[in-house]
């Protein structure tokens, strides 16, 4: 699976940091630490119904949630949009993903974009995943919009 390769992790780290800078700049300094912690234990923190706890939990850090949402998005693209690309090398896929996120900079092939429907589906997926990670709906929506806003549309 490409998603488990170092290339994938590097791309997730890179894009996550760019998004953290916009969404949660206060975490930027700690982003590496937070991402390492996320890779070490990617499971979502489940708030336990502890009768003697505080009773409300807020999201301690957005960085792991962003990384988690990105990984889910990459999985979606690879499994549902670029099915044929699955057999390509990890480096090549990473390059294509990079191109998808920043087409002007990476000069990627225009054919690798997403249709409007796929983009909408990707947005919903990112939002859902961010909310599952503990992000409040408004922030999750903003994150989803920021991410899909970077993805190239199919010409």
């Amino acid at each position: 699976m490409w998603i488990n390769t170092p290339e994938s992790k590097q791309l997730v780290t890179e894009v996550s940091k760019e998004l953290v800078a916009e969404i949660a700049p206060e975490e930027l300094e700690l982003a590496d630490k937070l991402l390492d912690d996320y890779y070490a234990n990617p499971a979502v923190h489940e708030a336990k119904d502890n009768p003697l706890g505080f009773g409300s939990e807020l999201l301690a850090a957005s960085t792991p949630v962003i990384a988690m949402a990105l990984q889910t998005l990459f999985n979606f693209i690879l499994n549902e949009v670029w099915v044929s690309a699955q057999k390509e090398s990890a480096v090549l896929i990473a390059q294509k993903m990079k191109g998808l996120f920043n087409p002007a900079k990476e000069k990627s092939e225009p054919a690798l974009g997403l249709t409007r429907e796929q983009l909408e589906k990707a947005k919903q997926l990112v939002k859902k995943e961010a909310m599952r990670g503990g992000m409040k709906p408004k922030k999750a929506e903003a994150l989803a919009l920021k991410i899909v806003g970077r993805i190239a549309l199919m010409p």
Partner: protein, 597 residues
């Protein structure tokens, strides 16, 4: 700039204390009722119904002994097991949260917590966290005695740097639990609830089910005994419903205790300057889309919205709570049922004591007479002491707070007294339902005529009686609170309110409730006369008691002009507790509102 002040929730006894005591009482009642269930299971006919005070001998004692022993062992066992669970809670919290003492890399968190604790005037607690991880933002204060500890999730390592206001608010909230001294009560309540589940619920269900199955099998094997099985089904069902009801009430008290402690901790944390941080956390919670899963009475935590409201308007805690009043009524009747059990048990033993005494002479004769009378006096004291404690500890603060709130809102006049009719109706509804739902409903009417008398005569009279008590205590509390100035509520004023309330309860309220329970028994005529006598006594003497209290307040507490504690000048305000000094603009009733740090 003037310092912000916050309505003092601790001006009156906190609700958590009352709830804790109510839970202990409810669990003891549950354990005592297990003895009754044993009676059904063992097929012993009601020994208490046939108790004859003049009975002398061992037969009666031996008939009730198993029930008394089982009830006593169940009550003691429940409390002991709860204590064991309570002692073990720190190790359980540590295991469940996978936490340990902070290592060198997290020492700054400990230092920060120490700083906050010292600023707040609390002993610095030990902080424990998972060794690794940066997730989660839950905190939990725990510990036995002076071993105060706060457990933090790994996410606090991040929060300290990214959201210091939130970090401080969460720590302040947990420190507030120590300052409010609710850790012991909360964990013991949890332990008690666990103990009830293990020691009372399972044996109860097993006993009922086992008994029914045995009777069924016996009935199938021997057709003549099948009727016996059929007759026991409605009894078993009634006992099941009644016992389940008492259990449910215990659960409701436990859950309410856990919810209430959070409001009090939020209040103190806000007083320590963490209102914004708390609002941030709670606001985020309100924005999350979460399905409501638990019935309101069974929630362990208040909603984020409720907590925000309580932070902004602490005066909502001065409104009387219908649930607490209803629960007080229920427990009052549970208590009478439990105490009548103790009374009957005493009489059963007393018969034996008296028979030994009658065959003795000299010193032994007098010693046994002394024992008999001491036991009798102790029981009477128990009845009045426990009832007084329940009403003074639960109802009285509710009325005091309501009176103060109405004073602050400038709501005066007879209408406020008339409104207490609703409160008294809720209380009496609780009492009546309690009598019907105590196992075997020994104090509830058991025929149609009895039910008619209950609804048409007894309930209206008891409601008027409760209203009269509430009116009296509201009057006394209002007179004494409105003129109280200074930093603390006078001990003498508190004592006066308590004494006045206790006297009224013992003279006019409790005798009425007790006497009204015997109107459909075999000695109905005697009790009709006793009830009428008591009613006449109340109607004649209670207005006198009212007048005497008014005179005593005037004489002992309102005879001197009130001086401002800041400038020393005399204030002319009629209710200085809620006013500012007209000379120096200082707060006169500092006990009622505290400065924010």
């Amino acid at each position: 700039m003037k310092q912000r002040r916050r309505l003092n929730l601790f001006a009156f006894s906190p609700e958590t204390n009352a709830l804790f005591s109510m839970l202990i009482l409810a669990s003891i009642m549950l354990a005592l009722f297990l003895g009754y269930v044993f009676r059904f299971v063992s097929g012993i006919s009601d020994p208490f119904a046939s108790i004859d005070i003049t009975a002398r001998g061992l037969e009666l004692t031996s008939a009730v002994l198993p029930i008394i022993c089982l009830s006593g062992i169940a009550a003691l066992g429940t409390l002991c097991l709860a204590f064991l669970f309570y002692i073990r809670h720190p190790s359980q919290v540590r295991r469940w949260r996978k936490i340990q003492r902070l290592t060198e890399k997290d020492q700054k968190i400990q230092e920060h917590a120490n700083k906050l604790a010292l600023q707040a005037g609390v002993d610095p607690p030990a902080i424990e966290m998972p060794l690794q991880g940066l997730k989660g933002s839950d905190a939990q204060a725990f510990g036995v005695g002076r071993m105060q500890t706060i457990a933090l999730d790994g996410g606090f390592r991040i929060l300290r740097k990214t959201k210091p206001e939130v970090f401080n608010a969460l720590l302040h909230h947990e420190l507030a639990h120590f300052a409010n001294a609710d850790i012991g009560r909360s964990y013991f309540s949890e332990a008690l609830w666990k103990s009830i589940r293990w020691l009372l619920v399972f044996p109860f269900l097993l006993a009922i089910a086992g008994n029914l199955i045995t009777r069924f099998i016996v009935g199938v094997l021997n057709r003549d005994l099948f009727e016996f099985f059929r007759n026991s089904i409605p009894i078993a069902f009634t006992v099941f419903v009644q016992w389940g009801f008492v259990l449910y009430i215990s659960g409701v008290i436990w859950a309410r205790l856990l919810r209430t402690r959070e409001f009090y901790a939020d209040w103190r944390a806000a007083r320590w300057g963490s209102q914004n941080g708390l609002n941030q956390i709670l606001q985020e919670e309100t924005e999350k889309e979460r399905p409501k899963t638990r019935f309101n009475l069974w929630k362990f935590h208040p909603d984020a919205k409720e907590r925000i409201d309580a932070l902004e308007h602490p005066e909502i805690f001065f409104n009387p709570s219908p649930t607490i009043i209803f629960l007080a009524g229920l427990l009052l009747s549970f208590m009478f049922a439990g105490l009548s059990f103790s009374f009957a048990a005493f009489l059963a033993f007393a018969g034996t004591i008296l028979s030994i005494r009658d065959s003795s002479t000299g010193l032994l004769y007098w010693a046994l007479t002394g024992i008999w009378w001491s036991g009798f006096a102790l029981l009477i004291l128990l009845v009045f002491g426990l009832t007084g404690w329940l009403i003074n500890g639960v109802l009285l603060p509710q009325i005091q707070k309501q009176a103060i709130l109405e004073l602050m809102n400038k709501q005066r006049g007879w209408m406020q007294y008339a409104k207490m009719g609703i409160t008294s109706l809720i209380l009496v509804a609780g009492i009546e339902l309690g009598f019907f739902m105590t196992p075997f409903s020994q104090f509830a009417p058991n025929d149609l005529l009895g039910i008619l008398i209950e609804f048409s005569i007894i309930i209206p009279i008891l409601t008027c009686l409760a209203w009269w008590y509430l009116t009296y205590i509201r009057f006394v509390a209002l007179r004494l609170s409105a003129t109280q100035i200074g930093r603390n509520f006078s001990v003498w004023r508190s004592r006066f309110i308590m004494t006045a309330s206790s006297l009224w309860i013992f003279l006019f309220l409790v005798p009425g409730i007790i006497l009204s329970r015997f109107l459909d028994g075999s000695v109905r005529e005697l009790f009709i006369y006793l009830n009428l006598g008591w009613l006449a006594f109340t109607l004649l003497l209670s207005p006198l008691a009212f007048g005497a209290s008014w005179a005593a307040i005037k004489l002992f507490f309102d005879s001197q002009p009130k001086k401002c504690p800041h400038c020393g000048k005399i204030t002319q305000h009629s209710a200085p507790a809620i006013e500012l000094c007209e000379h120096c603009e200082g707060v006169l009733g500092e006990w009622l509102s505290v400065p924010e740090k």
